[in-house]
Amino acid sequence: MATTVLDQHRVHAAHGEKTGLWSWITTVDHKRIGVLYGATAFFFFLLGGLEALLIRIQLAKPDNDFLSPEAYNQLFTMHGTSMIFLAVMPLSAMFFNYMIPLLIGARDVAFPRLNAFSYWVFLLGGLFLNAGFLFGAAPDQGWYGYANLTSRQFSPGANVDFWNMGLQVLGVSSLAAAVNFFVTVINMRAKGMTMMRMPMFVWMSFITQVLLLLAFPVLAVALILLMFDRFFGTNFFVPAGGGDPLLWQHFFWIFGHPEVYILVLPSFGIVSEVLPVFSRKPLFGYAAMVFSGVFIAFLGFGVWAHHMFATGMGPFADTFFSLSTMLIAIPTGVKIFNWLGTMWGGSIQYKTPMYFSIGFIAMFIIGGLSGVMHASPPADTQQNDTYFIVAHFHYVLFGGSIFALTSGAYYWWPKMFGRLLDERLGKLHFWLMLIGFNLTFFPMHFVGLNGMPRRTWTYPAELGFEALNQLETAGAFVLFLAFSVFLVNIVKTWRGPRNAPADPWNGATLEWAIPSPPPEWNFAEAPVVQGRDPFWETKRERGGRLPEPSPGTGAGIHLPNPSYWPLITAVGVAAIFAAIMLSHKTGPWGIIVAVSILFLGVFNWVFEKGYSEFTTPAQGGH
């Protein structure tokens, strides 16, 4: 593992292979892994969007039969599961991967091969989850898999198993990445960058890793217990055997609530990066932003049963969780005021990233307001299981996370790909998305309060939901247009020259000090930092904008070698879960083969000859 031997020979040989499929398969470079995450996530996002469009077509008319009930169940389950686990989380992961090392002035993450492993496991998990479609047995039990619908008795097919195994595989990916980024942020910061001088995106991402580390194991256990019920005949959630379906809900939401903060905290971080740059003003209330983030995360473990107000937990539980849920609105409010305070008195630059970040604030406030309404158990008893809830979470997850991630995409696109996205197309994308989003989801508040239930494939004409549903479907197609514009923008600028400047936005943080895109080693010299917004500080000291930085030659800089063992190990992980699913056909042999692949991968990874990794951030000369 860590040696002090500079294997220059292999480093140069490896650096020669910069293009081609093999270089991508064996990459351990955080920037490439970030791009892989982004491309894969974007693909799954479009797939999830397609699933949504099909849902909206079905719901445009009452008593519609465009989709069968079974197909509808699969589509809404896969839409939710894909958007959460295969779109928003890995899109955030794209930014963790690409930007965290740059923002803290490091050459890569703490464990580059573990990083590659995380990506490959994610890819395999995503494929696993979607494999059900190939067998006409896509998951159909809702993204939260409530027991005992998920028992063998009521879900005899393989649908639930694709979901269960797919999520367990994805959990491995998330946990590995969380360990990696947690250690990276703590241990690989540039000299002078104390925790309270880190960029806010790094802080929010760091808190997200802590949430991942603590929440995913709970989901893993819940999924394992369900797996045991379905494969080994236990009765954890089967009432006839003494089990209780409510236990599933507790386990799931102990994971599920921190999960929604996992989905939104990185987005908070992105907005906290964009707003200062495009207001030409430092982030307002840095310390308050840090502590409110920490408070939200900690408190996020104490609110989960607000998802269960309609299950009859009793007055004590209802009251406790209602209070804790309302309490969590406070730190969230602090953040919103601080974002507004950042813009107040600033010199606003009306560029596309800024549009999306401002849009985020507005949409997230709406989503937050409906959220506070759900926090009251008596009110929630009416709202639960209706489209009122669907409206809420789309406002915070789409109006929130997706708007912010899009803002981040436009903001960091030039840094990652060396090309600026077109401003006019970007603004068109924004307006189409804002209009389409609100057309789709705002009416849901009304149909929801009027009683339109969730997860139901159709509705009768007498209920009067048709007009608003048609509007919502029209909105969905406007969204389709919005994403088409985005794709056109990407393709159009991709064809253009790779000539984006290092610092197109007059940025505050370290990533703008190096070329666009950065050389493989990121920083020619390890940066030294004296405060927050270090690049603004540097530019101030040197009297204004700086000339284009030279990438340097990378001579004497030691980087970790590429490796394919992370991929092999990832295959082993996925194979274990596939083998469990097939255990009725292959018996224990499938599992034995899969475990062997895993061991083969792990042992070769650990004992790879000539491999050297980072143990210090400045490793590599200079």
Partner: protein
């Protein structure tokens, strides 16, 4: 201690790999907490089902046959003691590794592995014994919760034993020098964690009715 005194160029001066194993252990706390919760939660429920039970006898209403309480404290106590001593042994092995005392390292590491193997053996014996007496995963919620909790713990021990055997082989080959002793320290931390989880499981499952 060579590793404690060594100050690295990281932001904290600590080795990233050691921080990583502790982070992983922190995450595993939540994993075992969920399994232990599952066990405790079902404790209220399993008395209404069929036996055998851990601490109470059960009479089969159909046949009138009496099934005695299934937990046997003496055997498990031996296993518990073995696991505790194995923690001591690996601390001594690490002490030797960090000071280049090869004999001390190999001897105590070997002793740790032997204890670990005996513990796994005891668990396997116990599981088979229980199944013979009619307790399976499917039989009742006690069986389901018990085998799941102790089974996952046992799997963690087994993985630990494999890890330690790998360390032993490295040590035999002279590759566990004081500079490289962090590898053993990481394995030891994992091993201690597995022991510490058992320190909770032992009273909760075997001693509390």
């Amino acid at each position: 201690m060579s590793d404690h005194a060594e100050v690295l160029d990281t932001s904290t001066g600590l080795d990233s790999r050691k921080l990583a194993i502790w982070t992983f252990i922190g995450s595993e706390c939540m994993f075992f907490a969920s399994l232990i919760s599952n066990y405790l939660v079902h404790k209220e429920q399993w008395m209404s089902g069929p036996g055998p039970f851990p601490h109470e006898a059960w009479t089969d209403p159909a046949t009138g046959k009496v099934l005695e309480p299934i937990i046997e404290v003496p055997l498990v106590t031996v296993g518990t003691a073995l696991l505790l001593f194995s923690s001591l042994f690996i601390v001594l092995a690490l002490y030797g590794a960090q000071r280049g005392r090869r004999g001390m390292m190999l001897g105590w590491l070997g002793a740790t592995i032997v204890c670990g193997l005996f513990f796994v053996g005891m668990q396997v014996y116990e599981f088979t014994h229980f199944v013979h007496k009619g307790l399976t995963l499917q039989r009742n919620l006690f069986g389901a919760s018990f085998f799941t909790l102790t089974g996952f713990h046992g799997t963690h021990v087994t993985i630990g034993v494999i890890w330690l055997i790998t360390m032993f082989i490295l040590a035999l080959r002279g590759q566990l020098t004081p500079e490289r002793s962090l590898k053993l320290e990481m394995a030891a931390l994992y091993w201690h964690f597995v022991d510490v989880v058992w320190i909770i499981i032992f009273p909760v499952v075997y001693l509390i009715k």
